[in-house]
Symmetry: D2
Subunit: 142 residues, 4 copies
Amino acid sequence: MSREEFRYHFPLRVRFAETDMQGIVFNGHYLTYIDTAVTEYLRHVSYPYQEMVKSGCDFVLARVSCDFRSPAHFDDLLEVHTRVVELKTRSFVVEFEIYREGEAAPLFTASSVYVGIDPTTKRPTPLPEQFRQIVGSFERLP
Amino acid sequence: MSREEFRYHFPLRVRFAETDMQGIVFNGHYLTYIDTAVTEYLRHVSYPYQEMVKSGCDFVLARVSCDFRSPAHFDDLLEVHTRVVELKTRSFVVEFEIYREGEAAPLFTASSVYVGIDPTTKRPTPLPEQFRQIVGSFERLP
Amino acid sequence: MSREEFRYHFPLRVRFAETDMQGIVFNGHYLTYIDTAVTEYLRHVSYPYQEMVKSGCDFVLARVSCDFRSPAHFDDLLEVHTRVVELKTRSFVVEFEIYREGEAAPLFTASSVYVGIDPTTKRPTPLPEQFRQIVGSFERLP
Amino acid sequence: MSREEFRYHFPLRVRFAETDMQGIVFNGHYLTYIDTAVTEYLRHVSYPYQEMVKSGCDFVLARVSCDFRSPAHFDDLLEVHTRVVELKTRSFVVEFEIYREGEAAPLFTASSVYVGIDPTTKRPTPLPEQFRQIVGSFERLP
């Protein structure tokens, strides 16, 4: 895979508070990075998270696999490449590749499954048709 | 001041994730430590936070002053000495001193003001009379 | 799998600061939970992390897969069941199951691969023989 | 005081992971916000933190006072107005005011004291003369 296959990336700079005593970004913060990237992705495709929730569907992370390939450091400028690769009735799959600016190989890759839930009952609920259309069209999914 | 003046302390161990690249606990985590100590303090005096919220009063941090006297490190066993020093109608003041186990001088001290808010409207609201009685009696406040 | 298959678990209580606006523990904090459990596991088998680093071998998370089965909430008492299931020359695999106290089904499961690195050069390095013996014997690995 | 008195501000957007179950930014994250603002301030005045450390002087937070005036929420666009108001031999004082974009009143204000330390020995050390000149000139301090 390569970054050319992504139609969106979110830039961010590593904060001092995100480093640990090994001098690298603590692994848990990568989940914050990809979570933030999903928010920005939805804004980018003009279907902001808040609009989705208002329409009656929130979502939660159900599964994630992460590969930590090389460490990120304080002040690194990162690009969180983000794309939705699958849209099901009640869930969607997002792939992430994080690159240090100017580098050819990702330092982190992940694949996440998010499940739609009712904001009030917190029970699984189908994803909004509008979400599926907008994202499916942006990603040119079948 | 000294730890003898506190009737409660909460023990905690510094997590790896709380350190930063300077090899010490990142300053922001101390606010998590004292927040957690308030939760445990309320459990200790048998007036758990959840009961307070159910009774119609939540609270938020309105002001805090912190002194970082010496750094805490990974795996340190800390004691968060905690006491309520003032109970007003809509707010209360808590003092904290954090000691590394077995040490005479605190490595961190703080004073916080919390304000009662209505859990629904989020507007300031008087603290529950029961809270004031229980805490006032525990601390022997006038 | 069930918690009977684990010879160690680390108890922890969910902090307020670990919740998010959905009212549940934010997913990234689970990586802090399992990281902390590994530290406590090593202390439990009498081969503390600090001793391992002093002996010339640190380690980093290389890969992790997480299943978020049901949410944890503020003040939940959790048990992070932890076991090493594989010991290779330069890496080891740890499995985690997190249960809410008293519940039969885990709310979170994960599998992590950690890689030994030289604390100074940060390059991959073989795991200490002592580590492999102590952990292998504790887990009754072949 | 008002934002006109600040010559620098750092923009940031509140991340989902920074909210808590009260639906607002958890207080500890404000210390991350101001820490990040100091890093960006130093970059802005062309004396990056990394350069300061290389020159033999790191610094740590010694004291901070914070006023939480009104809550910040998920996705808010914030401006962290930042200015150095005092330069001593071994310490400097920074004031912060955080505004939600477009609002007249700050939702958070703080004053911090940072102390220079030797990166190796971690003992207090005088601030670099270059730091004092550059920042003093930027802020038009006497």
